[in-house]
C-alpha cells in the first residue's frame, strides 16, 4: 500500500479523497495470543468508529471491502492482524473519525493519505502531531510508457495496481453504448481491488469525463 501516496489527481479532485489506515505492527501486536486477541478487539472498535462516519469504502486485505458489496460485519468477522483501510470523500467526516480515534487512544498506528496541507489542517484542529510522512516525487524513467492521465487517476486508486487501463477502456465503451450506467461501471472497475482503498465515488467522476470524450 506504499502507493496511496502516489494517487494521481488534481488538487480539486484530491479534496474528495482521504484514505485512512489502521495498522497493527509486526513484532508488537502479534507476539502472543493475548496480544493478538487484544489487537483484534481494538482494531474492531476503531473500524466501528470509521464505519459509523460513512466511508465510501472500507475493507481489509484478504477479507474484501464494502465497495465490492461485502457486508461490513462479514469483513470484520475474519480474524486478521492487518488492520483495515477506509476512504472518505468529505473532509468533515474524515476529521470526525480522527477526533474519535484520538479520544479512543488505542495505541495503534494510524495513517492518512490525502492532500498534505488539508490533512495537516485537520491534525491541528483535532490536536494530532504527524510523526512521519511519505512524500511522492512522482514517476521517473520511461514515462512515455504510461497510459493517459485520466486513466492513471483511476488505476492509481488501487494499492496493488490490479486495475488495468484496458478494463477502464472496456467499460468506457460500454457506457458510451448505453450498455451500463457509470455507477455500475465504477463498481465493476473496482472489482480487482478488494482491500478497501479504492475510491468508487472519484472513479464515477473520472468516468463521466472519459465517457463524454470522443
Amino acid at each position: 500500500m506504499t502507493h496511496s501516496a502516489h494517487r494521481l489527481a488534481t488538487e480539486e479532485e484530491l479534496q474528495k479523497d482521504y484514505v485512512l489506515f489502521v495498522r497493527p505492527a509486526k513484532g508488537f501486536d502479534d507476539v502472543d495470543e493475548e496480544t493478538v486477541s487484544k489487537t483484534l478487539a481494538k482494531t474492531r472498535e476503531l473500524a466501528d468508529i470509521a464505519y459509523q462516519h460513512g466511508p465510501v469504502n472500507i475493507g481489509r486485505t484478504g477479507a474484501n471491502c464494502t465497495a465490492q458489496g461485502e457486508a461490513f460485519e462479514t469483513i470484520m468477522c475474519k480474524k486478521k492482524l492487518n488492520g483495515f483501510m477506509s476512504v472518505f470523500t468529505e473532509k468533515q467526516r474524515f476529521k470526525s473519525v480522527l477526533k474519535e480515534f484520538k479520544e479512543k487512544d488505542a495505541g495503534y498506528s494510524v495513517v492518512a493519505s490525502g492532500l498534505t496541507e488539508e490533512v495537516f489542517e485537520v491534525c491541528r484542529e483535532v490536536g494530532l502531531t504527524p510523526h512521519t510522512v511519505l512524500y511522492s516525487l512522482g514517476v521517473w524513467g520511461k514515462t512515455e510508457l504510461l497510459p493517459e492521465t485520466d486513466y492513471l487517476k483511476i488505476t492509481t486508486l488501487c494499492g496493488h495496481s490490479m486495475v488495468p487501463p484496458k478494463t477502464i477502456r472496456h467499460f468506457v465503451e460500454k457506457i458510451r453504448k448505453g450498455e451500463i450506467s457509470i455507477e455500475e461501471a465504477a463498481n465493476k472497475i473496482a472489482k480487482p481491488c478488494p482491500c478497501g482503498i479504492f475510491n468508487p465515488a472519484r472513479t464515477v467522476e473520472v468516468l463521466k469525463k472519459l465517457s463524454e470524450l470522443d
Partner: protein, 242 residues
C-alpha cells in the same frame, strides 16, 4: 496463467482484465503471452470464464517469483512473510511511530518499479539497488526485494530471477539526510538506464509534526513533491520519539 485451447470458446471476456496486456485475441485464438504475463491472477478472479478454459497452472521457481510480487492475494513463502505476508514492500512509514525504523537525520527511499501500469523485469530493480548502494544507502531489511539480493557486496540479484517480470516491486533503503541530494541525482541518472518507470517516495520524520527536513533540499534541486502524501499521525504507543 494459461488458456486451455481445447475448451476456450474465444468469447474474449478475459482480454480486458489483464493488468499488463498479456492476453491477446485475434481471428482464431485467445491466448496468453507467457513472457508478458506476470501471474497476477487478475484475469482468473475477474473474468467469469464460461468454460473454465482460463486456468492457473502450477508454477515452479523462478517463475513463481512473478506471482509472489504480482498477486496481492498470494502469500510469500515462509521466511519471507515480513509484514502481512502479502504484497511487495514493508510497513515503511505506516508503523514508524512505534517501530522507529526511520529516525531524525534519516530518509527512507522507496522506489516502486513498474508502477504505475508498466510492469518491470527484476533486472531493473538490480540497477536501482546498485545505484542506492553507490549512494551509501542501507538496504531495507525484511523486505522481499532485499531478500532476493544474491551478492550483497555488488548489489546483484540472484541470477535465476533477474529475467522474471513482475507487476511491480519495491526497493527500499535508508540514507542519511546529508546524502539526499547525491542520492536523488544518482537516481535521476539511473532512471535513464532502465526500460520501465518507477514511482519515487521519500520517508521523513517530521520536525514538530509539520516541518519537513527534506523539502528545502528537494526545492533547491528544482524538484517538487506532489501535493498529496501518506502521513503517519503519531497515534501509536509507545511513541518512538527519536
Amino acid at each position: 496463467m494459461l488458456i486451455d485451447q481445447e475448451t476456450c470458446i474465444r468469447c474474449g471476456e478475459c482480454v480486458f482484465t489483464c493488468t499488463l496486456d498479456a492476453i491477446y485475441q485475434n481471428d482464431d485464438t485467445v491466448a496468453i503471452d507467457r513472457e508478458k504475463c506476470v501471474e497476477c491472477g487478475n484475469c482468473l478472479r475477474v473474468t467469469e470464464c464460461p468454460t473454465g478454459a482460463l486456468q492457473q497452472d502450477e508454477l515452479a521457481w523462478p517463475r513463481i517469483v512473478r506471482k509472489y510480487f504480482s498477486d496481492n492475494q498470494f502469500k510469500w513463502p515462509e521466511g519471507m512473510r515480513y509484514t502481512t505476508g502479502y504484497g511487495r514492500g514493508t510497513e515503511e512509514c505506516k508503523t514508524n511511530d512505534r517501530t522507529g525504523k526511520f529516525r531524525y537525520g534519516q530518509v527512507g527511499v522507496v522506489v516502486e518499479l513498474g508502477r504505475p501500469n508498466t510492469g518491470t523485469y527484476l533486472y531493473n530493480a538490480e540497477k536501482i539497488i546498485q545505484t542506492l548502494m553507490k549512494a551509501g544507502a542501507e538496504m531495507g531489511e525484511k523486505s522481499p526485494m532485499t531478500a532476493l539480493i544474491g551478492d550483497r557486496e555488488k548489489g546483484l540479484l540472484r541470477e535465476d530471477i533477474r529475467g522474471e517480470r513482475v507487476l511491480s516491486c519495491i526497493v527500499e533503503a535508508k540514507i542519511r539526510l546529508e546524502n539526499l541530494e547525491n542520492t536523488l541525482n544518482l537516481l535521476k541518472e539511473a532512471s535513464n538506464e532502465i526500460d520501465t518507470v518507477f514511482s519515487l517516495g521519500l520517508v521523513t520524520r517530521m520536525i514538530n509534526g509539520f516541518e519537513s527536513p527534506i523539502e528545502p533540499i528537494i526545492s533547491k534541486m528544482g524538484l517538487q513533491v506532489r501535493p498529496n502524501s501518506k502521513i503517519n499521525l503519531g497515534l501509536g504507543k509507545p511513541l518512538c520519539n527519536d
